[in-house]
């Protein structure tokens, strides 16, 4: 399964020579620490527990502003977690504009962490950012390897993924 961990979860997402860097929670956290204006984007696949909690906790731990896509806003809102609601394509479109001021109006982000968007749609969005947003890095912390990201967790089962997410909550 070692090779299967680092090819795209949907194997035909393979798009060209460039492939994402495989990251562990440690490396992922390093990326966040190094980032000046990180952003977390959570999609409708984390509407269910324990994922909503994981996402909220990770964001809280690292002080990440959150964008929710699809109808994910509702699940977070009901838990009292503040997110800003955008369509996945809308936020991606904003992220590719170097002049966009970011969700907090402080300037374009330099790192975007994705979690819980539909796999192929996220792949497409990551492709947009890979091609047209050289000003930022993308990191995915789903249980799927996202080859179009700059850095991605590997393909995993739920157990391992939850362990990864648990680690993301810690220093």
């Amino acid at each position: 399964m070692s090779k299967e961990r680092v090819i795209p979860w949907q194997p035909t997402v393979i798009a060209g020579p460039k492939q994402a860097l495989l990251v562990t929670p440690e490396t992922a956290k390093m990326m966040i620490k190094k980032s000046k204006r990180p952003l977390m984007v959570v999609g409708p696949l984390v509407k269910e527990e324990p994922l909503t909690d994981y996402a909220a906790d990770i964001a809280a731990k690292w002080g990440l502003p959150m964008v929710s896509t699809g109808d994910a806003y509702k699940a977070f809102n009901e838990k009292g977690v503040k997110t800003k609601s955008y369509g996945l394509v809308e936020i991606t479109n904003l992220l590719q504009d170097p002049n966009w001021k970011g969700v907090q109006g402080e300037g374009q982000h330099d790192l975007v962490i994705f979690m819980g968007c539909i796999y192929y749609m996220a792949s497409q969005g990551l492709s947009t950012l890979k091609h047209f947003a050289p000003h930022l890095k993308t990191l995915t912390i789903c249980k799927f390897f996202h080859s179009n990201a700059d850095a991605s967790f590997p393909n995993m089962d739920d157990d391992e993924w939850f362990r990864y997410l648990e680690k993301m909550k810690q220093d």
Binding site: W9, Q10, P11, T12, A15, G16, P17, K18, G43, P44, T69, G70, D71, Y73, K74, N77, E78, K84, S85, G87, L88, V89, E90, T92, N93, L94, D97, W100, C117, I118, Y119, Y120, M121, Q124, G125, S127, T128, K130, H131, F132, P134
Partner: protein, 778 residues
């Protein structure tokens, strides 16, 4: 419904008996009309003639690209990696995406245009060049697209030929630009994509008008009959002929032959995809199996004795699949010959005998009448013989197959929708069929078959889904209102003002395929949601079928519950794929009939009118093919936004607005002759939503138009807020953008909205009287 127009001739099972008589209904249209109309600036526009309009659209709704591949493989210089680099021909990633979209749109346009030409020539051969284009008395502005684009109204079938020739010419020019070393700028590629879309709409209109007038399909009647739909409606005791595709001719040939021979009650004729829709427009005794998602399952179920394929949306493995259960395949057009011997000139009985004796794998028969005879004869003979053929594994075998599973999980990984096939298979080994049944329900799995292809143990997963789901098939008894064709002028007269003023909150067009997990039910629920909210819902093709497959709490289909009127709370099935032309046709007619804008040669003015005033929005939830790309480009160029499903992100390009950039929304007020601040209405031209909730809210928002009256705006905002609260649990963050003065604030949400306005530092702004993207007249 006061202004009831003279009804078109009843269509029914016997109408072909008189089908060679020309019927005159309503007044004779003044022949000179088209000559008298002053011609606008762009009759038969060339690729560059509408470029300035395109650039206005594209500057506001910038192309958003999501490359599906980093590389270009179109010439032998390559493959070139375009990630941050330009290719050997100099092309960059954006232009390459635009180029791929242009290729796709040309292919889509070719599918409709090729179909239209093919059908038109067949009908001209049958009816003559001078056969009149007469849509009956209740439709005066027939062919609004051709009027606008070609610059004249088609009077005869031969006039339609002129239109399709123009489409052919322009499409070749467009395709040419995709050649290596041609167009190099993404904005120009997009302008060409939009032109391809426009050509697509002309082609579709030619196709549908030709078949409506020559085959006497319904001519815009709002109360066409309900037609049976669903697997449960098919009498499997009879010989069954299945038509797959989009071309009505072979299906009509079958029905004509049955009638000639008095066999109407002896066989079942049913269809999948638009062929189903169009055959039921021709004859309401035919049955609709359902949309494309049923195709592999139905063929494999073995119910059909004869499978007649014509063109478009036919599985390319249909021959291989049909052969598995000894069904006979007849190919009927040049588009799909699938290697079969051409038997067009052969004696029908000889063909039947060759087919039944397995001397030939199937037959290519290019003559629709002969298709009819061969299909019927073969079905009758085969039906008995095939009775004992084991079509699907029995339940014991299903379990045996499931036990082969090694849980490698690759079925899930290759599934376009990452559905849990492995779990469903494994559950079966434990006696739990519910998970597999869930995949069958509402076509959660649309049976593309990739899991099966990937399975290292050759487990026929699609057969498993089909077999396990079989028990619910008998309950699949629904209906669909037969496709009516164009919207009537009287209807437009009635709804024109309420739409433009915003009193009818919008026209929502649910079109195209429903090939998305549970796509059918999702489309039906969207229809229900907007119907309940007074929108006009129009639909075509597989979406129209899917809507019919849904029953509300009272057990009624939406077609039973809502009228077929083009009016608030009307559910209007326009027809098949080519009937999508009546969606753009209807909004054009609003400009023509309600606003009295001259159409001929006036593309930009009409599109500008629609963009700024007609609150219409398309939804193609499960669209997957190149036709959908072309259709969307066409509606977009006409000024109608569209929402597509998440898988549509793989089309590589959307058109997204930037509400945060105020300068993008400036409009020219042509009345006051000055530039004014506007609003992001409509906010996007082509938007891909991640799920139904997001799509529904977006559709409501995209129906907002700058010309809404305060009352209309209040109503639209109420729906937008209602739906946002329902799906997101909140008042939308951007509601302040759509409040021009406090009169726009919806009463129900006054407190909440006023609070938001305050937070955002909202200021009232002047409302443009005649908002437009067009240049001021000098």
């Amino acid at each position: 419904m006061i202004n009831v127009a003279p009804k078109p001739k009843e269509f029914n099972g016997n109408f072909w008996k008189t089908k060679d008589f020309k019927v005159s209904i309503g007044e004779i249209v003044e022949k000179k009309r088209s000559e008298e109309v002053p011609m606008g600036p762009t009759p038969k526009p060339s690729v560059t003639d509408l470029r300035s309009w395109d650039m206005k659209l594209l500057n506001r709704y910038e192309p958003f690209y999501a490359p599906f591949c980093d590389m270009c493989c179109l010439c032998t210089y390559g493959k070139c990696d375009l990630l941050g680099k330009q290719g050997a021909c100099g092309i960059d990633a954006k232009a390459q995406q635009g180029r791929m979209v242009l290729i796709a749109s040309c292919i889509g346009t070719a599918a409709h245009g090729g179909h239209a030409r093919h059908l038109l020539e067949y009908l001209i051969e049958k009816k003559g060049e001078d056969f009149p284009v007469d849509l009956g008395g209740s439709i005066d502005v027939e062919a609004p697209i051709m009027r606008t684009v070609i610059g004249k109204k088609p009077e005869t079938l031969a006039d339609l030929r002129e239109a399709i020739e123009y489409v052919e010419e322009q499409t070749l020019q467009l395709l040419s630009a995709t050649h290596t070393g041609q167009e190099g700028n993404y904005m120009d590629f997009e302008s060409k994509v939009l032109h391809a879309g426009l050509m697509d709409h002309v082609g579709m209109e030619v196709g549908d008008i030709a078949q409506i007038v020559a085959l006497n399909l319904p001519k815009g009647s709002e109360d066409t009959e309900l037609v049976e739909l669903g697997l449960g409606t098919i009498d499997q005791e009879k010989p069954v002929i299945l038509c797959i595709g989009h071309n009505v001719a072979p299906g009509a040939g079958i029905i004509d032959y049955m009638e000639d021979q008095g066999l109407e009650d002896d066989l079942e004729v049913c269809g999948i995809c638009c062929a189903a829709i169009d055959i039921t427009r021709y004859n309401n005794q035919a049955k609709v199996v359902g949309p494309i998602s049923k195709q592999l399952k139905f063929v494999r179920s073995g119910v059909a004795d004869v499978v007649v394929v014509d063109e478009q949306c036919v599985r390319t493995d249909v021959l291989q699949e049909a052969r598995k259960n000894k069904a006979v395949v007849i190919a009927t057009t040049d588009k799909i010959c699938i290697g079969l011997p051409d038997k067009t000139k052969e004696d029908p009985d000889k063909i039947v005998s060759e087919l039944l004796n397995d001397e030939i794998e199937g037959a290519l028969i290019l003559d629709p009448a002969k298709v009819g005879e061969v299909a019927v004869k073969a079905a009758k003979k085969l039906s008995g013989e095939r009775e004992n053929l084991k079509m699907l594994p029995d339940m014991d075998e299903v379990v045996e197959y499931a036990k082969e599973c090694t849980e490698c999980g690759w079925c899930d990984r290759v599934c376009p929708n990452s559905l849990p096939m492995m779990d469903a298979v494994m559950a079966i080994t434990e006696g739990d069929f519910s998970k597999m049944e869930k995949l069958h329900q509402y076509d959660l799995c649309y049976s593309c078959g990739r899991c099966e292809q990937e399975c290292p143990r050759d487990i026929p997963t699609v057969s498993l889904v089909t077999k396990v789901g079989e028990r619910s098939v008998k309950d699949e008894r629904f209906n669909i209102r037969a496709g009516r064709g164009p919207v009537q002028d009287v209807e437009i007269r009635k709804v024109g003002a309420p739409i433009v003023l915003g009193d009818i909150p919008g026209v929502v067009a649910l079109i195209g395929c429903t090939n998305y997990p549970e796509g059918g039910i999702e489309v039906a629920k969207m229809a229900e949601e907007f119907l309940e909210r007074n929108y006009i819902v129009v639909t075509t093709g597989c979406s129209a079928m899917s809507i019919g497959e849904y029953r509300d709490e009272e057990g009624k289909t939406l077609y039973e519950k809502y009228s077929g009127n083009f009016d608030a709370k009307g559910l209007v099935n326009l027809g098949s794929c080519v009937s999508n032309s009546h969606v753009s046709g209807a909004v054009i007619k609003i400009a023509s009939i309600f606003a009295k804008k001259p159409l001929e040669g006036n593309f930009e003015e009409i599109a500008d009118y629609i963009l700024n005033r007609v609150g219409a929005c398309g939804v193609a939830w499960g669209a997957y093919s190149q036709k959908a790309a072309a259709i969307a480009a066409g509606v977009n160029r006409w000024g109608v936004p569209a929402v597509v499903g998440p898988q549509a992100s793989k089309y590589r390009r959307l058109y997204l607005g930037r509400p945060d950039q105020k300068e993008k929304w400036k409009v020219n007020d042509l009345r006051q002759n000055r530039v004014m601040d506007g609003e992001p209405a409509p906010e996007h031209l082509l938007y891909s939503a991640e799920n139904r909730g997001e799509a529904t809210v977006m559709v409501a928002k995209l129906c907002i138009r700058p010309t809404d009256t305060p009352k209309g705006r209040q109503m639209k905002l109420t729906h937008y807020i209602d739906l946002s609260k329902k799906y997101f649990g909140k008042i939308p963050d951007d509601v302040h953008l759509f409040v021009r003065t406090d009169k726009d604030v919806p009463i129900t949400y006054k407190k909440d909205v006023m609070k938001i306005l305050e937070e955002r530092g909202w200021e009232p702004r002047e409302v443009p009287l005649e908002p437009s993207l067009m240049d001021f007249k000098e």
